[in-house]
């Protein structure tokens, strides 16, 4: 490899290469990825071994999608917050002062990770479906359409976008992780509790509650209205907050 010109702009692919390394170059980051993979394998194994029925492809894909949908966004979140919590931001942003490019490179890596995670979901589900069928002595049930595959990927991508957004806004690992768990676990259950008792919220929730709209993707069909709800809630909880977070992140003083 020859040394490029001193005053050549850093190409984006080099930033992606570096950010990709950072996803796995510490023990904790590596273990987070390994645990996610193990949990995915475990989810399939449990269903294949212990389910009292033949696990179909869809059953298995959903069983993997739930834990991954919770965990993969954390990788995205930590990819931003670890720069601040571990203070590497000081080095990162003196080497690349255009902070937006670093965030874009991180986004590219996390998007790639989402694709890999979804592929892993389908791959493991397929293996599980074959094993389960073999155990029962029947044919495997392939009950997901191409559209369903796409919906499941979108489901994962929205979760990752939420994690990444929270990372960009909060920039502290502990605070952002708590915020993420609140958003992913506590708020949806509160929202559905509230919807049961308060009529107007029951009607408004699908238009305001991102998680509610997100889970529509795992249903049998996705209606036009549900797509609209997904678009609105995603703009409300992802696009707008991320734009604000990025605006602030590019200006904030790094100490």
């Amino acid at each position: 490899m020859s040394t490029p010109d001193r005053t050549a702009q850093i190409p984006f692919r080099r930033l992606v290469d570096v950010e990709l390394r950072k996803l796995a170059d510490t023990r904790s980051a590596l273990w987070l990825l390994v645990s996610i993979a193990l949990i995915a394998v475990g989810a399939v194994a449990v269903l294949v071994l212990f389910a009292p029925f033949q696990a179909t492809y869809a059953d298995l894909a959903n069983a993997v999608a739930y834990p991954l949908g919770l965990l993969v966004p954390m990788v995205g979140l930590l990819s931003i917050t670890s720069e601040w919590s571990q203070r590497g931001a000081l080095t990162t942003f003196t080497l690349v002062p255009r902070r937006g490019r670093v965030i874009a490179a991180k986004a590219a890596c996390v998007a790639g990770l989402t694709v890999v995670a979804t592929a892993l979901t389908f791959g493991l589900a397929a293996c599980g479906a074959l094993l389960s069928a073999a155990a029962e002595g029947t044919a495997a049930v392939w009950n997901l359409s191409w559209a369903d595959h796409l919906y499941l990927f979108t489901f994962q991508a929205i979760g990752v976008a939420v994690g990444f957004t929270l990372g960009a806004i909060l920039r502290r690992s502990s605070v952002a992780l708590v915020g993420y768990l609140m958003f992913a676990l506590v708020v949806p259950s509160l929202s559905s509790q509230l919807a049961l008792g308060v009529e107007w919220w029951g009607a408004a929730a699908p238009w305001l509650d991102l998680t509610h709209a997100q889970y529509a993707l795992l249903g049998a069909t996705v209606t036009g209205e549900q797509w609209t709800q997904l678009g609105i809630t995603a703009a409300l909880w992802i696009a707008v907050p991320f734009a604000l977070g990025l605006w602030q992140l590019r200006r904030v003083e790094i100490r």
């Binding site: 490029p4 702009q9 790094i254």
Partner: protein
């Protein structure tokens, strides 16, 4: 070349950096000296694009730092040796810099070698490093792109005496090869041994600056005589300042010849006559920054003739 002009940074009501101007030139080591909280780090953060100035400009090699296409190849920066991911190995931290800058992989080992980190140490995680080892790793990150300018905030922190000597030789060599070095410190002795030019900052303002030799000369002369009273009177009669020191000498703003003549014409035998360097610069430093220091007791002392009133303190 680093050019800072009329730089001001306010945080609400607090003015952390107040109209700071100075230049750090190629081939010279510029020491940025000031007590803690004087505004050194804020100035360096603005210079390296980590903070935005309220007004004024800070340029490296004629450009804003953020406008350099690949800053690591032109400017080596070490602002805080502790600010490194504790979970990465030393080598991995350096690999990230090498890859970001687009350098050959071999450069990592070369640079580790250059800063005196052994391959075994480089395999350990930064969290287990001593502050001195982190400083070396930080210097490696700054040097790996073979820059023309070095900007270092308190680089001697945590180094043992041999490490300080190593740092001094490294910076000296860098400047002698034509590089520009700007380093900050709150320790006068550290700056005094290495810097060619000194900028003293206190309370966010540059209170003195210039070539070290001139700053030392500006400090005046130390005269000793058996009769301190007569000596003081003689100097004052000649129109010079005279302040007795604790150990029975007299500090004056006269130069050597002037102080000698004044004593001679008054018939006062002089037992010692020398430039009041070292101790003098320390007193100057303390005096210059006293009004801004927590321990400050007295009034603002006279500022040396090098106190900048215009841009370009280190002219």
């Amino acid at each position: 070349m680093i050019t800072i002009s009329a730089l001001t940074k306010r945080y609400g009501d607090l003015t952390a950096v107040d109209d700071v101007s100075f230049t750090a030139r190629p081939g010279r080591v510029t020491g940025f000296l000031g007590p803690n909280g004087a505004g050194k780090s804020t100035t360096l953060r603005i210079l390296t694009g980590l903070a935005e100035a309220t007004s004024g400009t800070a340029e490296v090699l004629g450009r804003r730092f953020a406008d350099l296409p690949n800053p690591g190849r032109e400017v080596g920066v070490l602002l805080d040796a502790s600010a490194q991911h504790a979970g990465r190995t030393g080598r991995e931290s350096l690999v990230l810099a090498q890859r970001t800058l687009g350098l050959p992989a071999a450069r990592v080992s070369e640079t580790l070698d250059r800063v005196g980190l052994t391959p075994k140490e480089a395999k350990r995680r930064v969290g287990n490093y001593s502050l001195g080892m982190r400083q070396r790793l930080g210097v490696a990150t700054a040097l790996i792109g073979e820059p023309q300018v070095l900007i270092l905030d308190e680089p001697a922190n945590g180094l043992d005496p041999a490490g300080i000597r190593w740092m001094r030789d490294l910076l000296r060599g860098f400047a002698d090869d034509g590089g520009t070095v700007l380093l900050s410190s709150h320790l006068l002795a550290e700056i005094e041994t290495i810097a060619d030019d000194i900028v003293v900052i206190g309370g966010g303002r540059v209170v003195a600056g210039g070539p070290k030799a001139e700053l030392l000369a500006g400090v005046g002369t130390l005269v000793r005589a058996d009769d301190v009273g007569a000596l003081t009177a003689a100097l004052e009669a000649a129109g010079q300042t005279a302040s007795p020191t604790d150990d029975g000498a007299v500090l004056t703003d006269a130069d050597l010849a002037g102080a000698g003549r004044a004593a001679f014409s008054a018939g006062v035998p002089v037992t010692e006559l020398r430039a009041a360097d070292g101790v003098g610069l320390e007193e100057t430093f303390l005096a210059l920054t006293a009004p801004t220091q927590r321990d400050a007791g007295g009034t603002r002392p006279p500022v040396s003739s090098h106190a900048p009133t215009t841009t370009g303190a280190v002219a």
